[in-house]
């Protein structure tokens, strides 16, 4: 149980900081209306103009997001492999090669099917 104490303390500290910051901002900050405050903050697409038909957006975004996730996951697996590369040795190299080869097939498929073209 003792080994969990640091992580519990850290969790409590970060929770406390978050609650304190939001509460303090609410209590002490001035409230003045400004249209810019309603905009998307730093990231994301502008929500206007709304697309016709109630907000369907092109499947292209989904494709890009999917591709991002695939390569993101690849890195997730590559990273621990790189850390314990010498322990895993030849076995790790072969298995990772097979893994990356499989992803390469997916990549070739997406490329040939036009998944990388925006229009």
């Amino acid at each position: 149980m003792n080994s969990y104490v640091p992580i519990l303390v850290l969790g409590a500290l970060s929770l406390g900081f978050a609650v304190f910051s939001i509460a303090a901002g609410h209590l002490t900050g001035p409230r003045r209306f400004n249209r810019a405050k309603l905009d998307a903050y730093e990231c994301g697409i502008e929500p206007t103009p709304q697309p016709v038909g109630g907000g369907r957006f092109p499947v292209k975004y989904y494709l890009t997001a999917m591709l991002f996730i695939i390569f993101d996951i690849e890195i997730v697996f590559l990273y621990p492999w790189a850390v314990s590369f010498d322990a895993l040795g030849m076995f790790g190299l072969v298995e990772m090669g097979l893994f990356i080869l499989t992803l390469l097939v997916v990549y070739a498929y997406v490329w040939r099917r036009g998944g990388l073209e925006w229009d």
Partner: protein, 524 residues
């Protein structure tokens, strides 16, 4: 206390026994090759090549299953079990997948195939009409099917719960997609796909939570490790019981047992019919294999706790399946409820845990293995017949449209009657020997009340099968009723394989029964 240093010292390089995993590797290899073909092969050659590659891959994988027979051990650092039940079910799945793939490849009954040319096109849109007019065939279904089959091969063979979860997802995700690809009635098909996906994801969450709790109990996800912890009565029993319950819920969902059956009729009705047949047969085989392994290997020492629950679920499943099938007016929904009832009969066999046969085989396991084979082949055949009865709008699935079918096509009516007789468990069909096997296993396992209820339920179930037979043979056909299309050799072969196995296992069941008996021991 484990520190990073001691972990590094204990580090053991994992190993993969490629030979023992050959059946799965072949199927996954074919699937990946199929993806490459989709990318680089010109469209006109794709369909034949993909079909040939898929069937060749299934046959090669089956050959490697046969070569592994009798050579039982664990592979991939203990996360995959290569033992009797695993190899038997892998062989069964591969053999059932062949008629399944053949029926899926049919292009004559509905010009261009049963699948939408592009899954992403909006139903009824000009883009879709253009694709249909160009008679473009969807060939991506072959790699998807092979990925699903690969997951199904791993599911009953997985020896730890994480591998089992990965297999569950690998088999489910392609199926969700395939369900939504019907060329006709696309909205119904997409609805089926969405429902299957949402409820499947929901059940995966149950499964995963069960895995987490069992890990909390035993400190390992390995089934043998959990079994050890159960027998030494170490750890928190609440975690064990809750974890087992959640895990079993996840598996019973895939099996389609009541009260986790509600997705079955909608999905079976909406999915393209060859996919429904494939799914009803192969998914059930794989899921029962996993259920057997979890209940017998993982928490076998807990049989006193789970047996009464499986009792109750078996009775409920047989009851819900048989009674609700009576009220159905759609042939696909009726077959879906029939598959629920069959899940109940199979669960009956599973309860016979301490039933041991003359040669020391576990009757509970061997009867379930045998039942799965008989049920699977009849199911694929029956759904392939459903694809042939058509009118202008596509398949005529309303029961009233099947009235007097024997006058339009006596052959198809007789074949379908044969499959229904097998489902009902009439002697000289495989359904009879299979029901006999599970009921005698449950009887030997002292579940006598359950057997009596099972026999009564199979009489109720027989009633709705005979209702369809009477409808086909003794009702006057409607003037604008559907016609029976003559299929290409693909569907014909699929139906013939289904009918031949149903007949063979009804008349000469000995060989396969003995094989199932030999294959009834798990490695731990």
């Amino acid at each position: 206390m484990n520190t990073g240093l001691t972990l590094a010292a204990e580090f053991e390089t994992p190993s993969v026994e490629y030979r023992l995993l050959a059946p799965m590797l072949i199927v996954f290899g074919v699937a990946v090759a199929g993806v490459l073909l989709e990318a680089f092969m010109p469209r006109p050659f794709r369909h034949e090549t993909q079909l040939g590659l898929a069937v060749a891959g299934l046959l090669a994988a089956f050959a490697s299953v046969v070569m592994l027979a009798g050579d039982y051990s664990v592979a991939a650092s203990g996360s995959v079990a290569v033992d009797g039940p695993a190899l038997f079910l892998q062989g069964a799945i591969l053999l059932m997948a062949i008629p399944g793939v053949l029926a899926t490849a049919e292009r004559k009954v509905d010009v261009g195939g049963v699948f939408a040319p592009a899954g992403s096109s909006t139903p009824g849109s000009p883009a879709e009409r253009l694709l249909v007019a160009e008679k473009i065939t969807q060939t991506e279904v072959f790699p998807l099917l092979m990925f699903a089959i690969g997951g199904m091969l791993l599911f009953p063979a997985s020896n730890d719960l994480l591998t089992m979860f990965v297999a569950l997802e690998v088999l489910s995700l392609p199926l969700y997609l395939l369900c939504g690809l019907a060329r006709r009635r696309r909205l119904l098909s997409q609805e089926a796909s969405l429902k299957y996906f949402l409820l499947g994801a929901y059940s995966s969450a149950f499964f995963l939570y069960g895995v987490a709790l069992l890990y909390g109990y035993a400190g390992t996800v390995r089934l043998s490790g959990i079994a050890e912890a159960v027998s030494s009565e170490a750890g928190n029993e609440t975690l064990l019981l809750t974890g087992t319950a959640l895990l079993t819920v996840g598996l019973l969902f895939k099996v389609g047992a009541a009260p986790f059956h509600s997705w079955t009729p909608d999905v079976y009705q909406g999915a393209p019919t060859p996919i429904t047949g494939f799914m009803a047969a192969c998914t059930k085989v794989a899921a029962f294999g996993a259920l057997l392994r979890v209940l017998y290997v993982g928490v076998g020492g807990l049989a006193w706790e789970w047996e009464p629950v499986i009792w109750g679920i078996a009775i409920l499943t047989m009851g819900v399946g048989s009674v609700l099938a009576l009220t159905q007016t759609d042939i696909k929904r009726m077959l879906a409820y029939s598959s629920i009832a069959h899940a109940g009969f199979i669960l009956t066999g599973l309860v016979g845990t301490d039933a041991v046969g003359a040669d020391g085989e576990l009757l509970g396991v061997s009867s379930v293995l045998f039942y799965l084979v008989t049920y699977g082949f009849s199911t694929i055949g029956a759904f392939a017949v459903v694809t042939l009865v058509r009118d202008a709008a596509g398949e005529a699935t309303h029961l009233s449209q099947w009235a007097g079918l024997a006058r339009r096509s006596p052959v198809i009516a007789v074949v379908f009657t044969f499959f229904l007789a097998a489902f009902a468990g009439i002697p000289l069909t495989s359904g009879f020997t299979a029901k006999f096997a599970v009921f005698s296993a449950a009887w030997a396992g002292d579940a006598r009340v359950l057997v009596i209820i099972g026999v009564i339920m199979s009489a109720v179930a027989a009633f709705f099968y005979f209702r369809v037979i009477v409808l086909m043979f003794f009702s006057a056909p409607a003037p604008d009723g559907p016609s029976v299309v003559v299929p290409s050799p693909l569907t014909t072969v699929a139906i013939a394989i289904g009918a031949a196995v149903t007949l063979l296992l009804g008349v000469f069941p000995t060989y396969v029964l003995e094989l199932a008996g030999l294959a009834s021991q798990f490695v731990r």
